[in-house]
């Protein structure tokens, strides 16, 4: 079956199998490798993408169902080679170590700040509770989200 996706602003057509996940199609067929597979089971958030503006675990979405969907992955965040303020904030706060969880955290942060530009600690914790990180201990991630909110606030 052929489906059409809009990935990071570009339309693509791709052949998919009935049991293939959106994550598999992105990674193995479109070579969009920013979203990672940490569990394949909706438990870790490494595969987080924006799907029609909503935050989802792409390992839980069947590719067939995604026909026509608009998708944003970490690759779509940089514009003209420039980092997104969320990405800058992650660097400034040292909010990653091995980096495997980072694409998921950055996208979850984007989803949060899109709907709530001024989140409290509790809001951040709630929004990121589905993203696992084994390296950082989360402290710097929390700070990075706050810093990103400030940056985006100033930009507006």
């Amino acid at each position: 079956m052929t489906i059409t996706l809009n990935v990071n602003g570009k339309n693509v057509q791709v052949d998919v199998q009935p049991n293939e996940t959106l994550l598999d199609v992105l990674r193995n067929k479109l070579y969009i490798t920013g979203p990672k597979e940490g569990c394949g089971n909706g438990e870790c958030g490494a595969c987080t993408i924006l799907y029609n503006g909503k935050v989802v675990n792409s390992c839980l979405v069947l590719a067939l169902e995604a026909d026509g969907a608009e998708i944003l992955t970490i690759e779509g965040l940089t514009k003209d080679g420039r980092l997104h303020p969320i990405q800058e904030a992650f660097i400034e706060e040292n909010a990653f170590q091995c980096g495997f969880c980072t694409p998921g955290f950055v996208i979850s942060t984007k989803a949060l700040l899109d709907r709530n530009p001024n989140p409290s600690n509790e809001d951040i914790i709630e929004a990121l509770a589905g993203n696992l990180c084994r390296c950082t201990g989360y402290q710097t991630i929390l700070k990075a989200v706050k810093r990103a909110a400030e940056k985006l606030g100033v930009e507006k």
């Binding site: 597979e37 660097i91 201990g137």
Partner: protein, 775 residues
């Protein structure tokens, strides 16, 4: 060392790649005509393999290769060669590889696995290491015949793969001098590393018999060595390329699952085979941390002075020894941790069971040993009616003391007393925490100390090559892996100071490629900045002396009258006279065209100085190169109705010698402390009664999430420069995980007056203890 960049919180050199999702991990690599691998695993914890029939799988369209122990009859192991790549005559744990398939797609590979027929005859299994030591079930009947490093002491009839002995002073005499003899038992279960990136590797075997392996590997060179050893190949025929590692924590050290994909690739020369483990496979079939049971007997004077320490540690090593041999040894030679005791007798046993395979995990035996030691220190304090911190301060290792292996402590060895005092200050030790209005919830504070040296062979070597480019920029070649710890950034800062040039003129060569980068033993043991720092210092001296030698000929002054700074080499006593560095580093060309010198390449090698093996009967000797001390403290709130524990605050203070990058170092401490919270409160590999692992997903094996984060976490340092490092550095990366569990347990006692001695400290255990206390 003149410091300009060391000590500064400069941003990570891998930052852009990692926040843009462009950092490449093995799983992100694709090759033309690549095949996909999948593995058939044992459903039994212990069974004989009667028959394997792969004919149907082989016949399936799209299957390129099927491999079993018939095609790949090799064993692997870092210190003891006991682990077959594919189970041969028997399986020893649930999840052990029995056969593997390479196919045109993952789907076909999975289908092929279903077509493989294996006939098993179940054998009696043993899961408790104390039970296993009785030897009624032998897991490795041929243990005595396995190849091993002679420093490891096997006891084949007891399933023991290493028995480590420490005998210092006279423990019986010590007990006679003691006013109190205090005994205790402590335990902890197997736990899982849970790196967010599961293990993965790609192998390619060409028609010249050259093998290339891309692996998520902490130890590219040791991996190469162990592959070549297992497959009986010459080292130069094996090439390991290691891109970014998505978290290792010890689990990706040495050799792991690479042998499987190599065996497949050897069947299909000219084609890449990729094998990425699922989360379930990663938990079941890589390595976990050993479980441990400890029995302690301490002799103490009335004033709290420790005079004797006797301890038996029994490690649940699982089905194969892996790094367990050295885990058991390190725990054996470090106990009783950061305290001075004149008379010590320790027996540390690594025991085979039919559990998942135990391996290296951040802290390597020290999380285990400190759980017992620090819990027991609290028990001693309670018995004596002494404050636990006071008891610790009374007994810490100080200059002039000897540790368990008889090494003398010096001023420059590090300062555990300062760490304890700082941690106590930061947690508010001694003041009563403000109690919540809700009488059901009580708060308390606790503190624990720790010490760890790199657990490594006496000759664990490092090397560095510094290549100057035409414009006087530098490429730095080293084979320590960037596993998230920030090595590439820190070594850039150190190289900038060693070479007197700016860090943005330096690139660390990455990914690591054993065909190009120089030798490095492994990225383990918190030793990288220390060991590579030494090699780097020598390489920089070598490069600088080449530069000065060329410049001395041109300028007509002695090399020692020259100095290198940023982009020039100048005369010290007349700094305006200089030559641009770029005119020197490829050799100097005079105006008439004749040239001298040549490209500047600095070379530095290092092996630890003056280390020795330990005496097999007494464990005395010089096996540790440098020691890092630390102290950790916790404030908790316990709900006496539910038994639930909330960690309110964690503090970690470490004597780092010299902090190279305070931002990255603090990240290691905060991350390590949170990684210690999991095993303290809930992490544990669980099994069914018949030995099948249950906790094989993130639903059943929970790790801390952002919602578990304490309200406050503080990382701090003491800096007693390390004399064996030209930069004064020592390791801190593993240490933050080590004493979090005992600090939390101590805080729980402070809050509600119950002592839990078996990890994890679950609500059920707290409720049970509270009930016993009140009845």
């Amino acid at each position: 060392m003149r410091e300009k960049y060391v000590g500064k919180p400069i941003p990570r050199v891998d930052a852009y790649e990692k926040v843009t999702g462009t950092a490449v991990y093995v799983t992100d690599m694709f090759f033309p005509r690549m095949l996909y691998g999948a593995v058939l695993r044992s459903p039994h914890p212990h069974a004989k393999i009667k028959k394997i029939d792969v004919s149907k799988a082989k016949a399936l369209e799209g299957v390129a290769a099927v491999v079993t122990s018939k095609e790949c009859p090799y064993r692997q192991g870092i210190y003891l060669v006991d682990r077959p790549i594919f189970a041969t005559d028997r399986v020893r744990y649930v999840g052990e590889p029995v056969a593997a398939v390479a196919a045109e797609s993952m789907e076909i590979a999975m289908k092929a696995l279903e077509l493989i027929e294996v006939e098993y005859e179940p054998l009696p299994a043993v899961f408790d290491p104390l039970e296993a030591m009785k030897g009624e079930v032998l897991i490795h009947p041929d243990l005595a015949s396995y190849e091993r490093l002679p420093i490891y002491n096997i006891e084949p009839e007891k399933n023991v793969f290493h028995h480590h002995k420490t005998r210092k002073g006279d423990v019986e005499k010590g007990f006679k001098e003691a006013d109190y003899i205090i005994e205790g038992e402590y335990s902890l279960p197997q736990i899982y590393h849970a790196p967010l990136e599961p293990h993965g590797a790609i192998a390619f075997y060409d028609f010249n018999g050259n093998l290339t392996v891309w692996s998520s590997a902490q130890s590219p060179y040791t991996l190469r060595n162990l592959i070549a050893h297992a497959f009986k190949m010459s080292r130069h025929k094996v090439r390991v390329i290691a891109p970014y590692v998505g978290g290792g924590f010890g689990g990706k050290a040495g050799i792991n699952m690479e042998g499987i994909v190599i065996a497949l690739a050897m069947q299909v020369p000219g084609r890449h085979v990729k094998l990425i483990y699922s989360r379930e496979e990663d938990i079941m079939a890589t390595v976990v941390r050993q479980g441990m049971y400890a029995k302690v007997k301490a002799g103490v004077k009335k004033d709290g002075t420790l005079v004797a320490w006797e301890e038996t540690m029994v490690f649940d090593g699982g089905a194969y020894a892996e790094y367990g041999t050295n885990v058991v040894r390190a725990a054996g030679y470090t106990t009783p941790g950061p305290y001075y005791v004149p008379n010590i007798k320790v027996d540390s046993y690594g025991v085979y069971t039919n559990h998942l395979v135990g391996g290296a995990f951040r802290g390597f035996g020290h999380g285990e040993l400190h759980w017992a030691v620090e819990r027991h220190m609290d028990k001693i304090a309670k018995t004596l009616g002494m404050d636990p911190l006071e008891l610790r301060l009374k007994n810490v290792l100080r200059p002039g003391h000897t540790n368990a292996m008889g090494q003398k402590m010096h001023e420059h060895t590090g300062n555990v007393e300062a760490c304890l005092k700082k941690a106590a200050d930061l947690i508010g030790y001694g003041e009563k925490p403000e109690q919540p209005k809700d009488r059901v919830k009580r708060r308390g504070r606790g503190i624990a100390a720790l010490v760890k040296a790199p657990a490594m062979p006496t000759n664990a070597a490092s090397s560095v090559v510094i290549k100057f480019n035409e414009d006087a920029s530098v490429t730095l070649q080293v084979s320590i892996q960037e596993i998230g710890q920030g090595f590439n950034t820190a070594i850039t800062q150190m190289a900038a100071d060693a070479l007197h040039i700016s860090p943005d003129k330096i690139k660390v060569v990455f990914p690591i490629d054993t065909d190009a980068n120089p030798y490095e033993w492994q990225t383990v043991a918190s030793r990288a900045l220390w060991t590579v720092g030494n090699a780097l210092y020598r390489a920089a001296e070598d490069a600088l002396s080449q530069i000065k030698n060329i410049a001395s000929q041109v300028l007509g002054v002695a090399p020692y009258n020259l100095e290198v700074e940023d982009d020039r080499v100048y005369i010290k006593y007349d700094p305006e006279v200089y030559i641009p560095l770029k005119d020197i580093v490829m050799g100097y060309t005079y105006p008439d065209g004749h040239a001298i010198g040549g490209p500047v390449i600095g070379r530095g090698s290092f092996v630890p100085e003056r280390l020795t093996n330990l005496d097999p009967e007494t464990g005395q000797g010089n096996a540790a190169a440098e020691w890092t001390f630390g102290a950790e403290a916790a404030e908790v709130e316990v709900d006496m109705e539910t038994g639930e524990v909330k960690i309110l605050k964690l503090v970690g203070v470490f004597d780092a010698g010299r902090v190279v990058n305070p931002m990255i170092a603090a990240g290691q401490i905060i991350g390590g402390m949170v990684q210690g919270m999991g095993p303290a409160l809930f992490e544990q590999i669980t099994y069914t009664d018949d030995g099948k692992p249950i906790s094989i997903s993130f639903t059943d094996y929970k790790i801390p999430t952002i919602a578990d984060m304490p309200d406050e976490m503080i990382a701090d340092f003491v800096e007693t420069p390390e004399a064996t490092s030209p930069f004064g550095v020592r390791g801190i990366a593993e240490h933050p995980m080590i004493s979090v569990p005992p600090a939390i347990a101590s805080a729980i006692y402070d809050a509600v007056g119950v002592d839990i001695n078996d990890l994890p400290v679950t609500p059920e255990k707290i409720l049970k203890a509270l009930k016993e206390k009140h009845s």
